[in-house]
């Protein structure tokens, strides 16, 4: 049983695990998928890429931002069977640019695979549909002592 205590204007409730086992009766307002004010995930409802998504970190805004945008856009709009197979040129240009800034885009093997992973993650994010909530979750959650977890590029 939960215990309730009042201390002036403050109410304190202690609850056990069992107390909270039953589903909540609290009602939440339904989300409007087209709300223009909402923070968007990687893919906007219109199908375009949200370059300002915190999940991208500094990729779209750094010195190699233009190359990154070209490569990723090409991949995003690619209609080939192997998605992005015609974008090798753009990805190569992006890779070249990133090699010029090793401090910003660390070139160690695991880091390189991390960059690939990011693009793959983003790719899978869009494949799984317009679930804009998951990248948004990533935004505010990975904070903790570190601000937006995606602050580093």
């Amino acid at each position: 049983m939960s215990s309730i205590r009042e201390e002036g204007k403050d109410q304190i409730i202690f609850v056990t695990k069992e107390d909270h086992a039953t589903p909540s009766s609290a009602e939440l307002v339904e989300e409007d998928p087209n709300d223009p004010y909402e923070e968007r995930g990687l893919i906007l409802p219109s199908g375009e890429i949200n370059w300002n998504c915190p999940c991208l970190g500094g990729m779209a805004s750094g010195p190699c931002g233009t190359d990154f945008k070209d490569a990723f856009s090409c991949f995003h709009y690619s209609k080939e069977e192997v998605k992005g197979s015609e974008c090798l040129e753009q990805f190569r240009a992006m890779q070249e640019c990133m090699q010029r800034y090793p401090e910003l885009y660390p070139q160690e093997d695991d880091k390189v695979s991390e960059t690939d992973k990011t693009s793959q993650d983003s790719a899978s994010a869009e494949i799984s549909g317009a679930n804009s909530t998951s990248p948004t979750v990533q935004d505010s959650n990975t904070t903790q002592p570190n601000t937006e977890g995606s602050v580093e590029s």
Binding site: G8, A26, N52, Q144, T147
Partner: protein
């Protein structure tokens, strides 16, 4: 250049004056003839073909001569200026060849083309083709005494500041950086100039009072690197120096970029002319401007008035330099006192308290409230937190109002209003932040009298082309009303929003920012919305289970609960304030983890997640909905506090 403009300006009224004089003469000539003034304009025209034709010719001649004279004078002045400029340049280049190794000294400010340091100016000047004279003036004027660029570079600092930038961000902190990133993401090839009076590139502040103090690395004051909660290490700088481009390259950068001008302060703003003036007289014009000037730590009046001996032993903590000097100081003293019981004060107290375990540093924290975070946490939680802080090794003095501070025998003596005396070696004053609104006067921007800071609308706009973000912005939150927030995530969120709006988004403040605090290893919480202890609160905590505490045995049998509810019966009937007796009871309750709701008119306006993590989106949703919930325990269920 400006001279000829002035000359022309002077000539114009002259010309006008001469023409009016002529017209008046004509009129006067006309009047004696009995013509009424009303018909003069007509008469003026009709003087042409009929009588008075001579006067008309005279008028034309006079005006023409005046114009011609003015034109000749202006032409000669310009030519002279260009000649002088050319002479100067020649002189400089010849001088630079001789004095290549000359020490950079303060440039000799002379007549219009200022003579800058020969060695640094030699490079850019020959590159310049004969540009219009005004530009050169602006470029030559910045007398940059070789400000070493922060971080990596050893090359001499760039002197040529762009005279125009599409995006100007005043202030080089978190909000500014977030805006820069947002602008670059949305406007391809955008050119962004950040002007900051600090010597450092944009960095994040929270680790300065938390993680950096917990680092085992002795060189942490130099590297400024810390370990994140996920184990990975990173620097407090948002990006290394290679991310940015030099201000002088901003104009010519093909894909744009972000340039940071350090060590320069914007002192004046001309809103109608869309330009700002720096402390070295340089002017920079802009298309869109963001003011993200943050704030300056407040100080206690008693300390300010106490004299230099005291102020020298007092630290106001905000910047990297403050961290470095405080770290140094704490290694050499025996006792330190932190005045202030809010976020910064408590975090520093805990950080230093931890350090006191290794050294024999005495750490004292004093504040006027009854407990740590007294203005944020409800009393029971504030008391619980205070106990935790004490356990970190801090001597906490509550309800302490400082009456005076004096320096005796190289030690500081703090006299409290209730008579207590505290002797210490150094003071850290963490008593709030004064938002920096220096530009309000020259820019004609409104300052909020309730919260301080620049008053902006829901889209963070102060006036056309001017936005404000971060600590300095007093904005309208559609959900929670007008407020000013001094937290890191707000700086990021508002900076990002300002950047979006500067590139045409027109979005209001909607995504609610959050904040967090860690007080030692056991207490960590995240919060969102309005978290003010004066509001009524409802706290839902996970009850300790069999695994947790020894006293659980009594609870399982139910005796503990019954006795609690009994004491509750008696305690609540006298109602109102919590007396010391229930306070003792509280200590048995372990507020290990839970959720606290802050209510305003029965609507949840703020939520604290107490030792419960990764649930912020739910909290955000509840605040966004702004609904009245009958039973907050049901709402608390959504957070699943019993799980990890």
């Amino acid at each position: 250049m400006l001279k000829c403009r002035n000359v022309w300006k002077k000539l114009a009224p002259l010309a006008r004056a001469s023409s009016t004089v002529c017209r008046q003469n004509v009129r006067r000539a006309g009047l004696p003839n009995g013509r009424i003034p009303a018909r003069v304009p007509v008469a003026h025209m009709s003087t042409g073909p009929t009588g008075g034709g001579g006067e008309n010719h005279l008028y034309v001649l006079l005006v023409g001569a005046a114009c011609l004279g003015g034109g000749i004078y202006a032409y000669q002045t310009i030519k002279g200026d260009q000649q002088r400029y050319q002479d100067r340049i020649n002189e400089i280049s010849s001088r630079s060849q001789k004095a290549a190794t000359e020490e950079p000294t303060t440039p000799i400010q002379s007549e219009p083309p200022a003579v800058p340091e020969p060695e640094t100016q030699a490079a850019p000047s020959p590159e310049e083709p004969s540009p219009p004279v005004p530009d050169v003036e602006l470029a030559a004027a910045p007398s940059e005494t070789a400000e070493p660029p922060p971080g990596v570079d050893s090359t001499p600092a760039s002197l040529k500041v762009p005279s125009h930038t599409p995006y100007l961000l005043i202030g080089g902190g978190t909000a500014s950086f977030a805006a820069a990133r947002s602008i670059r993401a949305r406007d391809p090839g955008a050119k962004v100039l950040i002007v900051t009076d600090e010597p450092d590139l944009p960095y994040m502040r929270p680790p300065l009072s938390k993680e950096l103090w917990f680092s085992d690395d002795p060189s942490v004051t130099e590297t400024l690197r810390f370990k994140q909660w996920n184990g990975k290490e990173r620097s407090i700088y948002f990006q290394p120096a290679s991310f940015y481009i030099n201000p002088e390259e901003l104009d010519s950068a093909e894909n744009g970029g972000v340039a940071v001008l350090t060590g320069k302060k914007v002192v004046q703003m001309d809103v109608r002319g869309n330009k700002v003036k720096l402390d070295d007289e340089t002017e920079i014009s802009y298309d869109k401007c963001l003011i993200a000037t943050g704030g300056v730590p407040r100080n206690l009046q008693v300390i300010e008035r106490a004299g230099e001996e005291v102020t020298q032993k007092t630290t106001l903590f905000r910047k990297i330099d403050d961290f470095k000097s405080l770290d140094k100081v704490t290694r050499n003293i025996k006792s330190i006192t932190i005045i202030g019981g809010g976020f910064l004060g408590s975090e520093l107290a805990c950080a230093l308290g931890r350090r006191s375990h290794e050294s024999d540093l005495e750490v004292i924290q004093m504040y006027p409230e009854k407990g740590n975070m007294g203005k944020v946490l409800p009393e029971y939680l504030s008391n619980w937190t205070t106990e935790k802080v004490k356990r970190e090794g801090v001597k906490v003095i509550t309800e302490a109002l400082v009456k005076s501070v004096t320096c005796k025998d190289d030690k500081l003596e703090i006299q409290l209003k209730d008579g207590r005396l505290v002797k210490t070696d150094h003071i850290v004053a963490a008593v709030g932040l004064e938002p920096n609104v220096d530009l309000a006067k020259s820019a004609g921007l409104e300052v909020d009298s309730d919260f301080g800071g620049y008053r902006v609308n829901a889209e963070l706009q102060a006036r056309s082309n001017i936005w404000v973000a971060g600590d300095a912005a007093c904005f309208y939150d559609i959900r929670l009303g007008r407020r000013r927030v001094e937290h890191h995530d707000h700086a990021v969120v508002s900076g990002r929003l300002a950047g979006e709006n500067m590139t045409g988004a027109n979005k209001p403040y909607w995504h609610q920012s959050m904040f967090w605090s860690d007080l030692g290893p056991d207490v960590g919480y995240e919060a969102i919305g309005i978290v003010d202890s004066s509001l009524p609160t409802v706290g839902v905590f996970a009850k300790a289970t069999a695994k947790d505490t020894p006293k659980a045995a009594t609870e399982q049998s139910g005796t503990g609960i019954r006795s609690e509810s009994e004491t509750e019966d008696t305690a609540t009937s006298p109602v109102a304030s919590s007396t010391p007796a229930p306070a003792m009871e509280q200590h048995k309750d372990d507020y290990g983890k839970g959720v606290i709701f802050y209510l305003r008119d029965k609507v949840v306006v703020g939520i604290i997640l107490w030792n419960v993590f990764n649930r912020m989106p739910i909290a955000r949703k509840i605040i966004k909905d702004g609904e009245e919930h009958a039973d907050l325990n049901e709402v608390a269920k959504l957070f699943n506090i019993h799980e990890d």
